[in-house]
C-alpha cells in the first residue's frame, strides 16, 4: 500500500506545542508511507486540494491526516479522498490537537506522542479495506400501533402525505384515554368534539387500514422492510356486515355486564358498542358475559340482527402486513390505588379515581353528565381531590411524577363547580406542576376564580363517618393536621406504562426503562426515535404526557417516517459486522447478544448452521465481535486485526 501522511499545524493550535515537521519526517520511516508533509490548515479548501494533488502525484492508496478530532473533520477528509478516487474508508485520522497539543505544554513529549499516534493510524490504515454502502429499497407503508390521540395523529399525518397506513388498536375502538375524557385542559374544550372528527377521518381515509380489537403478534425484518403478524381477535360479529345499529344491545338480556368504558361505574350489555362515537362503530360480544357462551341458550342478538352479523363460532384470525416503518403509540395505563389501604379505594364507593370522575362529568357517561356520587346518587356538596396517588411515591415503586394529574385535578375542580355551583372543592397536593403554556394560569383560575381550596400536604387516611368521607391530611404550610369531610373523594391516580408494554418492546426489539416506558434514542435530541432503526415513538408510551405533547410527538414521529420515505432506498453504513463462515462454529452467542436482532441463522448447503449479519439492521456496536469465541464475526473497520495493529504499533 502507498500511504500519504499529512500533519496539520492548525495555525499555531498544534504547531506551538508539537513539532509537526518532525512528526511528518518521522512518518516517512513507517512501513508503506511514501509521502509525508505538514501543512498550515489541512481542512481548508487549499489543504484538501493538497491532499488530492498528492494522491494523484504519488499514486496514494491511503491517507492519514494528523490533525483535530475525527469527530470534527473525519467526514470532510473522507469526502476529499473520495473525490480524488480513493475509497472513503481508506483514510485514518490521528487526533493530535484535542488529545495532544491542547492538553500538554511539553513540546518534546507532545511530539513523541503525536508520532506514536500517527504510527498507530498508519498501522490501522494498512489493514483497512474499501467498504461500500449498500442501498436497500424501502417499502413505503407504515404501521402505527395504538390508536390513542398520538397514534391517530401520526396515522393521519402519514395518510395526508399519501402513505399507506396500517393502524392496529388493541381495543374495540380507537380513541384511547382521550375518548373517555369530558373536557380538556387548559382550554376546557370538549374532548369528543376535538377528537371525534379525527377518529372519523381515520375511518374515512382510504389509505388507512384499521385493525381494531387486534394485537401485534410478531415482527420480523428491518428498517424499510418489516413483516408484521397481526392477530384479529374474535368479536363474534362480522364487522363487514354490522352496521352499528345497536338493536342487539337493546335486546340483549345480559344487561349486568360491567361497563369497562365507563370505568366500571355502570353496566352494559354482553354485546356492545363501547360508546356512541366509537370507531369502528361495530358491535362485539363480550364472551364471558354472554349467556349463550355460558349456557348454550339465548341467541337473541342473532335473531334480532338485521344483517345476520352474529357468528358465535368466530375465531381469532391472523393477518400479515408488510411495512417499512413502525410508529409505536401504545399510551399508558393508570395506577390501581389498591395498595393504598388507608385510602379505601375499592372498599368505599365514594372514593373514586380521576378517570372515573372524568366519566361522571361526561354527558355520555354513566350518569348522563350529572355529578352524583356512586354510592347513593346524591349530589356532592364537598369534593376532595388527592394528588400524587401512585406517583412520586417510592413506597409503591412509582417515584416519578405523572405530569398530568395536577392539571386534570384543576380541570375537574373547575368542571365540578361549573356543574354544581354550590359544590366546594379541596385539593391536597405536594407541589403543583403546571409548566405548559397557559397551564399555571389555569391552575390559578381554579384557585382564584373558582375558589378551589388547595391544601399543601399529603393525605394520611380516608374513612367514612356517617354517609360522608373524612379526609385526614396535613397542611404543612400551617404545620397542622387537618380534616375535611367530603361526599366524594377523587384520587388522582398516576400514569404507568401500558399493560403489555414490555412484551411488545421485545417483539419490536426496542428498550424500555425500569417502569416499562419506552426509551427514546436521545432524551433531548432524538425524542421520537428508538435505537432500532425504523421504529419510532409517539405519546405516553414513552413517558407520562398530556394531549398537546402526545399530538406533537405523533406529528414528529410521522415526519420522521416521511423523511425516511422521502427516498426510495436507504444507504446503509458499511461499518457493520460480517461473518467468516469458514470460522463460525455456529454457537449462536452473537445472536443472543446483539441488541438489535441483526444476526440470523443461515444454513449452508452441507447442512451446517452459520451466523449471518443483516447489514441493514446492524448498528455497528461490535458486541458480537467481542463475544464470538472463534472470532468469526468481525466488525468492519474495527476488526480485531486493526485494533491489535494499533496496539502493536504502540507497544511493540
Amino acid at each position: 500500500m502507498r500511504i500519504g501522511v499529512f500533519v496539520c499545524q492548525c495555525g499555531t493550535n498544534i504547531a506551538s506545542t508539537v513539532d509537526t515537521g518532525a512528526v511528518a519526517q518521522r512518518a516517512l520511516d513507517y512501513p508503506d508511507v511514501v509521502f509525508a508533509t505538514d501543512y498550515m490548515y489541512t481542512c481548508s479548501e487549499p489543504g484538501q486540494q493538497e491532499i488530492q494533488k498528492a494522491i494523484a502525484e504519488h499514486r496514494l492508496q491511503g491517507v492519514v491526516v494528523a490533525a483535530c478530532s475525527p469527530r470534527m473533520h473525519e467526514a470532510t477528509f473522507r469526502r476529499a479522498v473520495e473525490k480524488a478516487g480513493l475509497n472513503r474508508y481508506m483514510f485514518e485520522m490521528a487526533n493530535i490537537r484535542e488529545h495532544v497539543s491542547w492538553i500538554g505544554q511539553d513540546k518534546g513529549a507532545n511530539t513523541l506522542k503525536a508520532m506514536e499516534l500517527v504510527r498507530m493510524a498508519v498501522e490501522k490504515l494498512r489493514r483497512n479495506e474499501p467498504l461500500f454502502a449498500s442501498e436497500v429499497p424501502i417499502n413505503k407503508r407504515v404501521l402505527v400501533i395504538g390508536g390513542g390521540v398520538a397514534g391517530i395523529q401520526a396515522a393521519l399525518d402519514c395518510a395526508d402525505a399519501g402513505l399507506d397506513v396500517v393502524l392496529v388498536e388493541r381495543e374495540q375502538s380507537i380513541g384511547g384515554k382521550m375518548a373517555k375524557l369530558d373536557k380538556t385542559f387548559p382550554t376546557i374544550d370538549c374532548s369528543s368534539c376535538i377528537l371525534g372528527p379525527k377518529m372519523v377521518d381515520v375511518a374515512q381515509k382510504e389509505n388507512i387500514t384499521l385493525h381494531a380489537y387486534s394485537e401485534v403478534e410478531a415482527v420480523s425484518g428491518y428498517i424499510g422492510n418489516f413483516t408484521v403478524k397481526i392477530r384479529k381477535k374474535a368479536t363474534y360479529v362480522d364487522w363487514d356486515a354490522c352496521t352499528g345499529c345497536g338493536l342487539c344491545m337493546e335486546k340483549c338480556p345480559s344487561k349486568k355486564t360491567v361497563d369497562r368504558f365507563n370505568e366500571n361505574l355502570g353496566t352494559t350489555s354482553a354485546i356492545q358498542i363501547p360508546f356512541p362515537q366509537a370507531i369502528p362503530k361495530k358491535a362485539r360480544i363480550q364472551k364471558d358475559a354472554c349467556r349463550y357462551f355460558a349456557t348454550g341458550k339465548c341467541k337473541v342478538c342473532q335473531k334480532i340482527c338485521p344483517t345476520n352479523a352474529i357468528h358465535y363460532d368466530m375465531e381469532d384470525r391472523e393477518v400479515v402486513e408488510e411495512v417499512g416503518a413502525i410508529i409505536v403509540a401504545t399510551g399508558y395505563d393508570l395506577f390501581d390505588p389498591a395498595p393504598y389501604g388507608e385510602y379505601g379505594a375499592g372498599r368505599y364507593p365514594d372514593v373514586i379515581t380521576g378517570i372515573q370522575f372524568e366519566r361522571i362529568l361526561s354527558a355520555s357517561g354513566p350518569f348522563g353528565g350529572h355529578v352524583k356520587r356512586p354510592s347513593d346518587g346524591k349530589e356532592p356538596k364537598d369534593i376532595v381531590f388527592v394528588a400524587c396517588v401512585g406517583s412520586r411515591d417510592k413506597s409503591v415503586d412509582r417515584p416519578y411524577c405523572s405530569g398530568i394529574c395536577c392539571m386534570y385535578i384543576a380541570k375537574q375542580a373547575i368542571l365540578a363547580r361549573d356543574h354544581l355551583p354550590g359544590v366546594q372543592c379541596y385539593v391536597f397536593y405536594m407541589d403543583i406542576r403546571s409548566p405548559g403554556k397557559n397551564y399555571d394560569e389555569f391552575v390559578r383560575r381554579a384557585i382564584e376564580e373558582y375558589g378551589v381550596q388547595y391544601i399543601r400536604g399529603r393525605v394520611g387516611k380516608i374513612y367514612p363517618r356517617g354517609d360522608r368521607m373524612v379526609v385526614q391530611g396535613a397542611d404543612t404550610l400551617l404545620g397542622a393536621q387537618v380534616e375535611v369531610e367530603a361526599d366524594l373523594v377523587v384520587l388522582a391516580t398516576g400514569v404507568e406504562s401500558s399493560r403489555g408494554a414490555k412484551e411488545l418492546a421485545e417483539k419490536l426489539r426496542i428498550s424500555y426503562d425500569q417502569y416499562g416506558f419506552y426509551m427514546e434514542s436521545h432524551p433531548k435530541l432524538r425524542p421520537v426515535e428508538t435505537n432500532t432503526a425504523g421504529v419510532y415513538l409517539a405519546g405516553a408510551c414513552q413517558g407520562p404526557k398530556d394531549i398537546p405533547a402526545s399530538v406533537a410527538q405523533g406529528s414528529a414521529a410521522a415526519s420522521k417516517v416521511l423523511a425516511l420515505f422521502a427516498r426510495d432506498t436507504i444507504a446503509t453504513d458499511p461499518q457493520v459486522a460480517g461473518v467468516l463462515e469458514s470460522v463460525c462454529i455456529g454457537c449462536g452467542k452473537c445472536l443472543s447478544v446483539c441488541p438489535f436482532g441483526a444476526i440470523q441463522w443461515k444454513t449452508l448447503r452441507d447442512g451446517s448452521r452459520k451466523a449471518e449479519v443483516l447489514e441493514t439492521v446492524c448498528q455497528g456496536c461490535g458486541l458480537c465481535n467481542a463475544t464470538c469465541p472463534p472470532k468469526a464475526i468481525q466488525l468492519k473497520h474495527f476488526t480485531d486485526d486493526q485494533i491489535l495493529a494499533e496496539l502493536d504499533a504502540l507497544c511493540a
Partner: protein, 169 residues
C-alpha cells in the same frame, strides 16, 4: 528522536466513540492539561472491548490500560456498556493470576460533556501508573491482590444498571 526507545511510560486507552472519546475531546477543547502518557484507540462502543485487548496490551508492555465508555444508562447501543462492565470486571479479577498488577487496568464511564471528569480520570490513573513504574512483564509485577482501586473517580463503574434491554442480558 525515536519514540520506540524512549523510556516514557505508556497508557493505552480504549474509548467509545460516542461518550468518552467526546469527553476527551471536550477536555482538549477546554485546554484541561493532562499528563502525556495516554494513547487513545477509538472503538465504537465499550461493548466492542475484547478482554483480550487488555491482556495483550499489558503483555506487550503497555504500562496501563484505561477503558472508558458511556454512563450505564446512556449507551448509544442501549446495552453495550453493560456487557463491557461484566467482561472487564472479569478481566480485572483475572490479571493477578497471570502476574499482572490489577491496578494497571482501570475502566470507567465518562460522558461527552465531562471534560473535567476526563482530566481527573487521566491525571489520577497516570499518577497510579507513574507510581507503579514500568510494566515488568508477565509474572513480574509485585501483585497486590485485592489492591484497593487507586483511582477515586471511578464513579460510573459502580453505578447501577438502569437500562433494561428487551432481551435477556
Amino acid at each position: 528522536m525515536d519514540e520506540k526507545n524512549d523510556k516514557q511510560l505508556r497508557i493505552v486507552g480504549f474509548l467509545c466513540n460516542w461518550c468518552s472519546y467526546g469527553g476527551a475531546d471536550t477536555a482538549g477543547v477546554c485546554r484541561f492539561k493532562q499528563p502525556p502518557l495516554l494513547r487513545i484507540i477509538r472503538i465504537p462502543c465499550t461493548g466492542r472491548m475484547d478482554p483480550l485487548f487488555v491482556v495483550k496490551a499489558l503483555a506487550q508492555g503497555a504500562d496501563g490500560v484505561l477503558v472508558s465508555g458511556c454512563h450505564p444508562k446512556d449507551c448509544h447501543y442501549a446495552v453495550g456498556n453493560f456487557y463491557a462492565r461484566r467482561r472487564l470486571e472479569l478481566v480485572k479479577r483475572f490479571l493477578p493470576f497471570v502476574g499482572l498488577d490489577p491496578r494497571r487496568f482501570h475502566y470507567t464511564w465518562v460522558s461527552a460533556s465531562e471534560g473535567q471528569r476526563w482530566q481527573q480520570v487521566v491525571s489520577e490513573f497516570s499518577a497510579v501508573i507513574q507510581e507503579l513504574g514500568p510494566n515488568p512483564g508477565f509474572g513480574q509485577d509485585a501483585v497486590t491482590e485485592n489492591a484497593p482501586q487507586a483511582v477515586s473517580s471511578q464513579g460510573g463503574a459502580g453505578d447501577t444498571e438502569r437500562c433494561i434491554s428487551p432481551r435477556s442480558l
